[in-house]
């Protein structure tokens, strides 16, 4: 796993959001989801975003991950103004820099654990052998190497989420964004997943930003940001 910090900003921030505003139109009504929000996340941080439903946590995470563009303001991630990138360039940037972990795992049911982890590597110029080797390593990191030929239906929820984490780290991204990673898990599996995220942060120096409602999950983060009505408290 790489710990390259060459493109972080001078103050060590990997994420730097300045006066970020996000507005949606619901019919004729304007909905301000984020309002002039400023946020800085440093390289190697493990931070949580908490807040009530509709507070703008997931919207902020989507903007940081380059899935959406702010209505105004800038979001720089690893020195790149993500909102300024055109659609195609943002997709390539995401593939290279961001690892995604979702609440509902989102494995492709027709692919084995190994093939699911290989998916992001299909976009890289790698041979089949290289892809398999990297995917196997990622599965080894999450402790599921022996289950790599299993289909998602043959895995427990916790194991599926660990495969999803392997898929998120297989491209060796700078930043991992996790949207409610323990939301669908029992306590034991949730703790396993959180321990794994902790390890990725501590051992591999991965920057992690996690949206969660779970206080136990938030406790694992080194810093917790509370949002309400689109603003950081």
């Amino acid at each position: 796993m790489s710990t390259d910090t060459s493109s972080q900003s001078a103050n060590g921030a990997i994420v730097s959001a300045k006066r970020v505003r996000k507005t949606y139109l619901r019919g004729k009504e304007e909905l301000n989801v984020l309002q002039d929000l400023d946020l800085t996340v440093h390289e190697g941080a493990f931070e949580a975003l908490m807040g009530p439903s509709g507070s703008g946590k997931s919207t902020l995470l989507n903007l940081i991950a380059g899935l959406d563009r702010p209505t105004s303001g800038t979001i720089e991630v690893a020195g790149v103004d993500v909102g300024a990138l055109p659609e195609r360039a943002r997709a390539k940037w995401r593939a290279a820099n961001i690892g995604f972990i979702f609440q509902t795992y989102n494995m492709m049911p027709v692919l084995t654990a190994l093939e699911n982890v290989e998916l992001p590597l299909l976009l890289a110029r790698l041979s089949g052998k290289e892809r398999r080797e990297r995917a196997t390593t990622a599965l080894e990191v999450v402790g599921l190497k022996e289950r790599m030929q299993h289909y998602p239906r043959e895995l427990s929820g916790g194991q599926e989420q660990r495969v999803a984490i392997a898929r998120a780290i297989v491209t060796d991204p700078r930043l991992i964004v996790a949207d409610e990673p323990t939301g669908d898990l029992d306590r034991k599996s949730a703790d396993d997943v959180l321990a794994l995220l902790d390890r990725l942060n501590q051992e591999f120096n991965k920057t992690i930003i996690m949206v969660t409602h779970d206080p136990a999950a938030a406790e694992r983060a080194k810093k917790v940001h509370h949002l309400d009505k689109g603003a950081l408290l």
Binding site: L67, A95, F100, N106, M108, V110
Partner: protein
């Protein structure tokens, strides 16, 4: 990525199997209908270029004098000529089996129709037996007749019982020949007291061989000119033109068959399109995830279209594979045995297979195009919000 798309077919095996089955059935129908078209035109395509048919100018069913045969033979450029009379008869033991019965002068007939393959010893027997008849191998097989058998047919145009001896069984070196016809000695018909008053020394049509196929129009004109001033005038044309004019009479049916065969493929495309569109709707969330991790809209299009093409090619291959036993061994054999006059050679043309597979693939692309477009247009954030 194509492999991922093909794996996607496993998600809903029942739906996939039913869609592939629908494609397979559509392709079988398409192959069958295209084979009907090619079999219809086989007669014209395989017509001898050096043969001219001559009939009564008014209608096919009106007879001409026997002496016209010799007069046609005397026209410069004509090598040989033979007469033929439609007899019309049934075997009382096989009342429901239709087969053509035609009276000919054996030597003249075999000279003009040299693609009829009859062993020399059987020819001799036929030449010397007034009640002798030759039958095609498919008719012999169907009715179980063998050489030397004595058969009795009931005349439909010439009433009464007519006895024949099977003198030979012919095959053919050209696919347009009907191998389910009974040819018998014209003298037997002409000398019989039952025909003496009504049709003695009358023939139905004349077929002549010419020495230069390039002059067929000119010679046909010469034949008709010869009888221009007679009571009975003639109409002559090349065998190909004669066959084509017959096809022309049923051209509307052929066009309808053509349209139906294409409609079948259109329905097939709609079925595949619907299946793929259902898959795209169900996988909206998953496509959102793929887009999130860096896949581009074009990659989603590859997934969707590959899936659509895979279904159509699987179905197409199965359809083509099943077409052979169904069309050639089943329907084709039955048609050749029972409707040999219309379908003397009912076989799937290689180009029909090629066209079927290419069209299946093309329609697979077209069927997947619209669902692929809708997958490409999905917004990542909106897709991720939808439940998987």
């Amino acid at each position: 990525m194509t492999m991922v798309a093909v794996r996607n077919l496993r998600r809903n095996p029942l739906r996939t199997v039913l869609t592939i089955a629908a494609v397979m059935v559509a392709i079988i129908f398409f192959v069958t209908l295209r084979t009907v078209l090619s079999a219809w035109t086989a007669g014209a395509d395989n017509a001898a270029k050096d043969r001219i048919g001559t009939r009564h100018k008014v209608s096919f069913i009106m007879p001409m004098p026997l002496r016209y045969v010799q007069e046609v033979r005397d026209i410069p450029g004509v090598k040989s000529a033979a007469s033929a009379n439609w007899f019309g008869a049934k075997d009382p033991k096989h009342d429901r089996e239709f087969f053509a019965t035609i009276a000919v002068k054996p030597k003249d007939f075999l000279e003009v129709y040299d693609e009829i393959d009859l062993p020399a010893e059987q020819r001799e027997v036929w030449f010397q037996t007034k009640t002798g008849a030759i039958i095609g191998d498919s008719l012999a097989k169907k009715l179980g007749w063998k050489i030397g058998d004595k058969i009795t047919l009931t005349g439909t145009i010439y009433p009464g019982e007519w006895e024949f001896v099977i003198a030979g069984i012919y095959t053919a070196t050209r696919r347009s020949v009907d191998r389910a016809t009974l040819y018998f000695n014209y003298d037997y018909l002409n000398d019989d007291p039952r025909t003496r008053q009504s049709s003695h020394d009358q023939v139905g049509w004349i077929v002549s061989r010419i020495d230069d196929p390039g002059r067929s129009a000119e010679i046909a004109k010469a034949i008709d000119s010869k009888f221009d001033e007679r009571d009975i005038q003639t109409l002559s044309m090349s065998e190909r033109a004669m066959n084509t004019s017959f096809i022309g009479m049923i051209s509307a049916i052929l066009k309808a068959v053509n349209v139906v065969s294409l409609v079948m493929l259109g329905i097939m495309a709609l079925i595949i399109g619907n299946t793929v569109a259902m898959g795209v709707r169900e996988r909206t969330h998953e496509y959102g995830v793929l887009r999130a991790i860096g896949f581009l809209p074009k990659h989603l299009a590859v997934f969707v279209v590959s899936e659509s093409v895979a279904v159509s090619i699987f179905g197409g291959l199965l359809g083509v594979m099943l077409s052979y036993p169904l069309v050639e061994q089943g329907l084709g054999r039955w048609l050749e045995e029972n409707l040999a006059g219309f379908f003397p050679f009912f076989r799937i043309a290689p180009q029909t297979i090629g066209v079927s597979l290419v069209l299946a693939a093309v329609l697979g692309v077209l069927a997947g195009a619209l669902p692929a477009y809708s997958a490409m247009k999905l917004k990542v954030v909106d897709s991720l919000r939808r439940a998987g």
